[in-house]
């Protein structure tokens, strides 16, 4: 009996809860860690990026309008989806990162648990980062963290799933929407994970993923005025230049530092704005 031919997957962009090809029609070849052809992946253009930002802005207001409890449940459902499609993720991580199956499984397990960790933050951030302030006067004064808005993420180039999860789930769990540039050479795990947002009750536009050439797209991410913050984790030698470009609209910028694992809340804190309210107290 001849071997069954499998149906190959087409990897497209994830924008506004839908899966379009690049408006430029371009694609590029992605190869696995050992050089074998993996897929032709969409090569996003600056116009795709522009559309993604519009979608993110619209999606963000719906996302923030939901209760923290609801957002936590949606993130947890994302983890449920990832768990049930574990095998696919393991396979892609193995191929992209050249890992042994056992190690790829550990990476995927940690990534799913990480999403669960973020799911539990949505309704606790306010209690940890906010609070009432005892001002010296008859005022009720309280500080609350609100999301910055739309965050542009240059996802880590090497850590195709685990690093991607940290980079996008952190801003999302505090109420932001994200336009992420997936790892240029290892994009497929990010696309698969982003596809799952469509079956997790995320409003469209909360997570947008563009695959393509980082060097081409990142400067547009950095200069786009309707992006409020930048995560430059995957921009390597471009990072300084992008940080300078981001200054044009006073973006909040996150760059990796040594010992980041000791400060797991830093990303969350970078992409919230603290708003403080005073209210008089008197008869």
């Amino acid at each position: 009996m001849s071997e069954r031919l499998d149906v190959k997957k087409t990897y497209k962009l994830v924008v506004n809860g839908a899966f379009p090809r690049s408006e430029s029609g371009r694609s590029y070849e992605v190869v696995s860690a050992n050089g074998r052809f993996l897929a032709n992946v969409a090569q996003a253009s600056r116009k795709d990026l522009r559309d993604a930002v519009v979608a993110a802005r619209a999606g963000q207001s719906k996302w923030w309008a939901a209760t923290a409890y609801n957002r936590g449940q949606v993130l947890y459902r994302w983890a449920e989806m990832a768990e049930s499609r574990r095998t696919e993720l393991v396979e892609q991580v193995q191929l992209c990162e050249g890992l042994k199956k056992k190690d790829a499984q550990l990476v995927v397990a940690r990534s799913i648990d990480r999403i669960v960790w973020y799911a539990g933050w949505t309704d606790k951030v306010t209690q940890v980062l906010g609070g009432a302030n005892p001002v010296a006067g008859p005022y009720f004064n309280f500080s609350l963290p609100a999301p910055s808005g739309v965050i542009g993420v240059v996802a880590p180039q090497d850590s195709s799933l685990e690093g991607f999860v940290d980079a996008v789930a952190a801003p999302i769990c505090v109420g932001n929407a994200v336009v992420a540039l997936a790892s240029e050479s290892r994009p497929t795990p990010a696309v698969i994970l982003a596809e799952m947002t469509a079956t997790s009750d995320f409003p469209g536009g909360v997570l947008n993923v563009l695959t393509g050439v980082t060097g081409e797209l990142a400067p547009h991410l950095a200069t786009h005025e309707d992006i409020d913050g930048l995560d430059l984790s995957g921009s390597d030698e471009l990072a300084d230049e992008l940080a300078r470009l981001g200054a044009g609209s006073i973006k909040r910028v996150y760059r990796p530092r040594p010992h980041d694992e000791e400060n797991p809340l830093r990303r969350l804190r970078t992409f919230v704005e603290t708003s403080t309210v005073w209210h008089t107290i008197g008869q």
Binding site: G72, W117, K124, H279, G282, Q283
Partner: protein, 487 residues
Amino acid sequence: MTEHALTSELGALGYDPAPEAASIARLQSSYGLFLDGQFTAATSHEQFASINPATEETLATVALASASDVDTAVASARRAYVKVWSKTTGAERAKYLYRIARLIQERSRELAVVETLDNGKPIRETRDVDIPLAAAHFFYYAGWADKLEHAGFGAAPQPVGVAGQIIPWNFPLLMAAWKLAPALAAGNTCVLKPAETTPLSALILAEIFQQAGLPDGVVNIITGDGTTGAALVDHPGVDKIAFTGSTEVGRLIQERVAGTGKRLTLELGGKGANIVFEDAPIDEVIEGIIDGIFFNQGHVCCAGSRLLVQESVADEVLRRLLRRVDQLRVGDPMDKNTDVGAINSAAQLERIVELSAWGEKEGATRYTGSCELPEKGYWFAPTVFADVAQSHRIARDEIFGPVLSVLTFRTPEEAVAKANNSKYGLACGVWSEKGSRTLWVAQRLRAGVIWANTYNKFDPTSPFGGVRESGFGREGGRHGLEAYLNV
């Protein structure tokens, strides 16, 4: 005030019965104790009946745990703590709790029916309030299990060990969730004693623990009566006692625990003051007063059982309130259109009747809602006492039923003084459109919970608990972890 009314030829829209199906409950005829992950008979094999207070019919029998069963339960919890749970990472504990939350959501209709049958509260409330909040509590605390170092209790707070938890009959499943979720998230194991008249939803919860794969012994459930609870309180193998119930029993427990080294939190009674200023939004305040005292048949520790209304609007508020009370639908808890259900037990009904008689004796003016009460079961028509004075028993004693006492005040200061003039201090309501005044009053009220322009709102993120003889300790929020950590 004349009472002739204009009615349409069609009359008011009377609602046909809209009953939920009791068969959804799938109750077994008898239940054992939940020990070490299994249902087992009590050593004495003694069972007692749990009845439906709306019909007085037996729903099922449950086991009566004796001191030796309590011993087994505590030993099981200790074993599970030492061998399994204390070695389970926060991330793993979180995932068990998330599973439990999801299972409660999946089985929510069944749980709502069981709760209504066993407690007597309307299906609308169990469906829309009790069960969803129970799931939400597990969801919320699941998220703390792997974040304890961020909770403000130090870099690596540790659990206390084995928690003995005794819960009341007014929100059976929800109280179980309030106790178990933070305890488990923080790394403790538990022995839970449900109330004598409402054990069933906790036993369904035990089935859910099995479905979730919760390791054996992490939660043990011992049904029984006062003697069971006493045995649990006294057990030397328990590191912490959490109790929700009456102040009388709370006092006894505190006495017995004193000097034993056991941690203790108490959530006791209240006589909540619902304070209405003249600028309150008039129609919404009426709903708020109703919600404050007739929600859950008034079986709420934080009930707004005293209405303190500013004298300048007292007549108008009372007029509208009485009209609204008359619209309350009292009857079959399984009917989706019922607003007020049955009183939970004959004993509780007797207490309500007795205290209401005192109200009349002391000279307050009694108004009773005009509703037809069913023949079988335990029922009390919503009642309002006007012209109540601070020195009346019905202004000071917790009735724990659908009875409202109405008093007046003139100034914000007087409102605060009257509200605070109580040995209790659980919850209050403040109604005004002037924010600064609301905050001024809130600052001065001696209460653990203050609702502004609303009442009886609960959320797992919001700390709940009393001051003075309403107890100590908080449940809910980041603060709710404190009781279950060694900090």
